[in-house]
Symmetry: C2
Subunit: 335 residues, 2 copies
Amino acid sequence: MIPSPYFLYLGHSNDEIGIKTSRGLAVFRREDCVGEFRHDGCGLTLGLPRLTIEQAVAAGAKTLVLGIANAGGKLGEDLVQDALAAIEAGLNIASGLHQRLRDEPRLVAAAQAKGVSLFDVRDPAHDLPVGNGERRAGKRLLTVGTDCSVGKMYTTLHLARALQARGIPADFRATGQTGILIAGAGVPLDAVVADFISGAIEYISPARNDGGWDLIEGQGSLFHPSFAGVSTGLLHGAQPDALVLCHEPNRPHMRGLPHYQLPRLADCLEANLRTARLTNPDVKAVGIALNTSKMMPEAAAQLCAETSDAFGLPCVDPVTMGVEPIIERILTCEA
Amino acid sequence: MIPSPYFLYLGHSNDEIGIKTSRGLAVFRREDCVGEFRHDGCGLTLGLPRLTIEQAVAAGAKTLVLGIANAGGKLGEDLVQDALAAIEAGLNIASGLHQRLRDEPRLVAAAQAKGVSLFDVRDPAHDLPVGNGERRAGKRLLTVGTDCSVGKMYTTLHLARALQARGIPADFRATGQTGILIAGAGVPLDAVVADFISGAIEYISPARNDGGWDLIEGQGSLFHPSFAGVSTGLLHGAQPDALVLCHEPNRPHMRGLPHYQLPRLADCLEANLRTARLTNPDVKAVGIALNTSKMMPEAAAQLCAETSDAFGLPCVDPVTMGVEPIIERILTCEA
């Protein structure tokens, strides 16, 4: 596995959503993170000490995590230069970008010369199966969303931890680079070859007979024209018994696409249930998770209450309100 | 490009659908095919001369096309042995299987020793874009299906040729290995990385301003639990103005999945229209294509008439009845 402690890269980022991998590690693996790397122009922070590469090494860092995302996932020249400096200082490099570290000859040469490793978290396992859609034992929950980056991973992790806290066997199944770095396992679903999307999920969430739950991290959105294919295959592979719909209120348009509006919550939930029924006719919605980080607390509480009433489902912000109401509803799925 | 004439491989196949790549070439590029290779156990024929490798070389063949398909797309030991014999005789090898020729060291070594080439048709172009969903100029038609292998490629090719015969600019856009071998270009969609499915279609079917049509080959089915993600991204990337629904009557279950029934035509058409509307709200159905190859002609004609009445759409078997009624309907899409 990837050696910790981690040094988390922000670079020049000024897009909060673009640093979600670094932030995910800072939140869910904080004890393993020594600090953050940012250039002067970067207006964001993870609340970790801002360190130079040399300070990070002195603080014990073993790996620089390039925990930033951009559409297309390319390695920019900035990233390459910063990674070269980190390698020179003796750090391993981990990346979740589509463009692989191993495909940049300067990084490969430098890593070889210094005896450090390059970790491409987005390399899927070899020999993934084609999905077969056969019903398998065990309970599975999938988070789905109105858009990309609306809180599906956070919600899934909070649900997994809440079930575990009650002594119920529960496993977080990671499907994206941040989740994989947090969990130490999973499949980078957006990097899987298209024919194997549903099979990849069947592979990481096999039959279970211990009465516990798999909590599967959703990806994309059925309403995102760039990524809905991934979301569809994920729904079919997951065979979810339970869906939690994730949403960020007040988002002006679909992520990266100013010409696309977000779907209505009711339309989005219905589309997800309809798609999921192909492989699990008994799927049901068990909750709605709102990312209210940009709202005042009173407004957030009111919106959750109204949404809950409108849908007859528990509705919370998992980060600020916890997930107990959804857990209660999940447990009614147990036959 | 891949040197012709071709020698078409059937091997030990006894599954008609499994030889669809060889058959597609035999039908649509017949003038470029010298013969077929089959073992004694093979109960199928393309109607081409059955030749040994030596006879094929003597007849002028330049490339053995491994035009067979199997779930998972592995290179079996039979295929490897036959390909080695063909290389030894001086033939190039082309394959549309998921498992690449270049990943089988014996084939690579033999090809190098003999100075022939290995063509992996399922290698997608590098640097495919992420889909952006932006409306683009030009008319596009997409074939969709109740299942895999129900006649989407045949229908698309017949539609392209019928439009061309009327002097209307029309391009067949291939999305599978057979279509790519026939057209000489395209994208092997099931081999594209999941994040780029819709972007790959935007790439092969760009804006056009000549008043003509792109006829885009469909893949899979929204109702196939293994491949619906591919079909979804294809719908979104195509932004189709027109859909043709393809179906094979009397198929007992979804291809490869005895536990899944085929969808009803009406449900399938509605699901495709609903999904397509995300990127083209004006999409409409322009016809239904039935593969009636396993039916008596009278029964086929009656079923087409009944289906046409039930849906208010032209319904034909493109191979036996032509596509003129659908072409007439397509031309009503022109504003």
